[in-house]
């Protein structure tokens, strides 16, 4: 059951990856990157359930924090440059 759920999530991730590769401007790529980070976080929750290890949840929290910081810094870069 977890295998099927993970494959389902990977399908959604590959659809988002198309937008990440195709996106006409930088902003589209940043949005797709944000969504990919959230999907990776959800994949880590599914992996934690599959392997029965709660350690993966800590990694998911750190990944969420770093993804948020990256998106915010990209927003500042779009607005003002380096």
């Amino acid at each position: 059951m977890y295998e099927f759920a993970s494959v389902f999530l990977l399908l959604a991730m590959s659809l988002t990856m198309i937008r990440f590769l195709k996106g006409p401007t930088l902003n589209d790529r940043v949005v797709a990157f944000d969504v990919l980070g959230i999907m990776a976080l959800s994949l880590l929750v599914l992996l934690a359930l599959y392997f029965q290890r709660s350690l993966y949840l800590d990694i998911a929290l750190v990944l969420g924090a770093i993804g948020f910081l990256g998106t915010t810094i990209f927003g500042r870069y779009i607005e003002k440059g380096i």
């Binding site: 389902f8 949005v31 944000d34 359930l49 949840l57 915010t72």
Partner: protein
């Protein structure tokens, strides 16, 4: 019974993720893509974490912390991108020539 509810919420979340990915592919301009990429992933993650709480009740504190973190940060980062894109005048489909944020900023000056 708990396991049934857990998988039910997890698959509801996965369906919401897929709808968000299709929206990112199909929407015509940047702001509607931000709309597709901001709201439904937040809801999908919270549904998935709710399913995980049903499946493993002993992990509830960590999972609730994760859900609260996602609920706080994801709309904020999308708002930052939208505001930055508006500031550099990204073209978008504007059928009735209304731009209230621009009017507000010009009125302030």
């Amino acid at each position: 019974m708990m396991s049934f509810f857990g998988f039910f919420f997890i698959f509801l979340g996965l369906i919401a993720f897929t709808i968000s990915a299709i929206g990112l592919l199909r929407m015509p301009d940047l702001y509607s893509r931000i709309h597709a990429g901001a709201k439904s992933p937040t809801m999908a993650t919270i549904l998935l974490i709710l399913g995980a709480i049903f499946l493993e009740p002993s992990w509830a504190p960590k999972l609730i912390l994760l859900a609260a973190f996602i609920l706080a940060t994801n709309p904020l980062s999308s708002s930052v991108i939208a505001r930055a894109s508006h500031k550099i005048d990204t073209p978008y489909i504007n059928t009735n020539n209304i731009d209230e944020l621009k009017d507000l900023q010009e009125g302030k000056k």
